[in-house]
């Protein structure tokens, strides 16, 4: 049994995909010789060589353009955008080109590519290197959106993302890179659109993903242990496609729903999910849906400021307790 970090799960999953299929290529800034700024790609250049593992200049449009063009003619590129914040400099390629070209071409063009990127706060990097941006890509038709919360999910979802014939944005959480897990068999595949119910409970239901799924799970364990409140925790794993079946099952079970989101408040993915739940299951609800999010502000940098900005385990516990007591 091997203990694997989330960080190592990234390079392992890419390596597994590249071994299986020589159409899989990998490109990005500092990914080859340097092994990635987060050391998520160590060993790939050594194993696969510079023809398949390409260090690029700091040219995000060139990186994603190359990935898109190569995928149009049958290759399966994985492109790294170092920080998800940098998606803003190549958002035209993502939102106007990659997302729309299949549709506009009436299905003549297929784009089997993966864009992987380091997302989220926790490193005190300030407002331009810490954002949680998965909801940006959720808002654009034509993109699949993945955000794993643990090492085995990194492997299973990366394998599925590379095998998928559509463009996938793969949001890795920076704060989860050191997370460890015992993984017996690394030959994993998780269907995109298959959420993971991390904990089962009948009193309330949390819908979350990425780092927030881990914090929600921790909060649910505290609620169970100290307050005898049993909370279901759904780790969505993917926003597009969205596992509405799992959401439906858990919402109907407790009728009390919380979303835990790292994105700023307005138009976070939880707003869309709340709207779907209200539209479809209004009569199953015991009270309003509560969204626990980052406030609608850019992220501050200092320890104490950042720590008090994104949802914490304590805030999740307190919000759920408060809501249940109020009810």
């Amino acid at each position: 049994m091997a203990q694997l970090t989330y960080r190592n799960a990234v390079s392992l999953s890419i390596a597994q995909c590249m071994r299986k299929d020589d159409k899989v290529l990998f490109l990005g800034e500092d990914i080859g010789q340097a092994g990635g700024v987060f050391k998520t790609t160590v060993g790939l250049l050594e194993e696969f060589g510079p023809v398949r593992v390409k260090d690029t200049p700091i040219s995000e449009q060139a990186i994603l353009g190359a990935a898109m063009g190569a995928s149009m003619v049958g290759l399966k590129p994985i492109a790294e955008i170092m920080f998800s914040d940098f998606l803003a400099v190549c958002w035209d390629i993502v939102a106007n080109e990659i997302a729309k070209t299949r549709y506009m071409s009436d299905g003549q063009i297929t784009l089997p590519l993966v864009i992987r990127t380091a997302n989220g706060a926790g490193s005190k990097f300030g407002a331009q290197h810490s954002q949680s941006l998965e909801n940006w890509s959720m808002a654009v038709p034509g993109l699949k959106v993945v955000a794993p919360s643990n090492p085995s999910d990194v492997i299973g979802l990366m394998t599925a993302a590379v095998a998928d014939p559509d463009p996938v944005i793969f949001y890795e959480h920076k704060s989860l890179y050191p997370m460890k897990e015992e993984i017996e068999n690394t030959d994993l595949f998780i269907n995109l659109g298959e959420a993971n119910t991390m904990l089962q409970g009948n009193d309330a239901c949390i819908i979350s993903l990425g780092l927030m799924a881990q914090r929600s799970k921790e909060a649910a364990l505290i609620l169970k242990e100290k307050h005898n409140i049993a909370v279901s925790v759904i780790d969505l794993r993917t926003l597009v496609p969205l596992d509405l079946q799992t959401i439906t099952r858990e919402v109907k079970k407790s009728g009390l729903v919380f979303t835990v989101e790292e994105n700023p408040r307005l138009c976070g993915w939880g707003a869309e999910i709340s709207s779907i739940i209200v539209e479809k299951f209004f009569h199953n609800l015991k009270g309003p849906i509560t969204r626990i999010t980052t406030p609608h502000i850019p992220l501050p940098s200092a320890d104490i400021l950042e720590d008090n900005t994104i949802p914490t385990v304590q805030r999740i516990v307190d919000t759920i307790l408060h809501t249940i007591k109020k009810g």
Partner: protein
């Protein structure tokens, strides 16, 4: 005129003529169909700029890739796309290349190597690198060509793409069609160098190539040379072809910002179709061949137009088709 030292020859000249006629006469038809209100939306005609696409159309092989801009009807046709496919798409009919889902600015015809027309200035240069990269990786010998306007030379994607193409030695030819105006503004007023593409070539360790983009022979020579270079694996080229559009930037633009004398000079004295008709006569090509090709083309376009007018409007189920590779648009289970 003597035929000695004719490096091009009659058979290539007739191919160029066929290209020029297609590109010119289909664009004219598109203009007429606008006036009949059978084409909606916007459209950017390449009238006057036909020599550039024509030359590459003759030089490129079936396996090669072409990337166009929103002014892309001509380049799409130059690769052999059907006339009814192009006009049908402009008219929003089922017979259109993309069944009416893309429209004038997004013509795509993958089976003929047309990998799309891109309506965000500069976006397609980095993407074109991608097919070139794939050809290099798979060692197919295919060359990618990427056409764009002078305005593109001032956007970041142009510079990112040229740099990457050169450091990776990609089999690609970038072709700047400098028609002197960036939309409504003279390109010289907003550019730090005289030749917006060619003067930047040295920054990317590329040859400075400026060519008369209205002379089909000159265009043919430079297209052949740069495509062959790319095919030999000797890396990318950047061409700046000087040209002029006969009409405005788009359907909405009467082009009043251009001096009358300037426009008249280009249209009367530097029109590629006029230049080439005379050139062919000078090289001894029988006028009856030239004229009968022209008449045949007009007839072909009339026939294609009839097909388009008879073609159904797209079925509404197309709205939800082909967001994903499974053919659908579902975003949840």
């Amino acid at each position: 005129m003597q035929k000695i030292n004719d490096d091009i020859g009659e058979s290539i000249r007739l191919k160029l003529w066929d290209q020029l006629l297609t590109l010119r006469l289909v664009e004219k038809k598109a203009y007429d169909l606008f006036l009949e209100n059978l084409i909606k939306g916007t459209s950017h005609l390449a009238l006057g700029q036909e020599a550039i696409g024509s030359a590459f159309g003759v030089v490129l092989e079936k396996k090669d890739y072409t990337f166009c801009t929103y002014r892309g009807h001509a380049h799409t046709l130059s690769r052999g796309a059907s006339i009814e496919g192009v006009l049908g798409e402009l008219m929003g009919r089922e017979c259109g290349l993309m069944s009416g889902k893309g429209g004038s600015m997004h013509l795509t015809d993958v089976k003929n190597g047309v990998m799309g027309s891109y309506a965000i200035v500069g976006a397609h240069l980095p993407i074109a690198n991608g097919t070139a990269w794939a050809s290099q990786y798979n060692n197919t010998g295919a060359v990618t060509t990427c056409f764009f306007g002078d305005g593109t030379t001032n956007i970041g994607a142009f510079h990112e793409a040229l740099n990457l193409a050169q450091i990776w030695k990609l089999p690609i030819v970038f072709v700047c069609e400098n028609n002197l105006y960036m939309e409504y503004t003279p390109i010289g007023d907003v550019t730090a160098v005289e030749h917006p593409a060619a003067d930047r070539a040295s920054s990317y360790n590329m040859e400075k190539i400026i060519v008369d983009g209205n002379d089909p022979d000159e265009m043919y020579r430079v297209a052949k040379r740069t495509v062959e270079k790319a095919r030999r694996g000797e890396g990318p080229s950047l061409i700046e072809a000087k040209t002029y559009r006969h009409s405005g930037h788009s359907r909405a633009d009467p082009a009043k910002y251009r001096p009358k004398e300037e426009a008249e000079d280009w249209i009367k004295n530097k029109d590629p179709i006029k230049i080439y008709r005379q050139r062919m006569l000078d090289f001894g090509i029988n006028e009856s061949i030239i004229t009968s090709m022209e008449n045949d083309m007009k007839e072909k376009i009339e026939q294609a137009t009839k097909v388009c007018k008879k073609s159904s409007i797209p079925s509404l189920d197309l709205i939800h088709k082909d967001v994903w590779a499974n053919g659908g648009s579902e975003w949840h289970n």
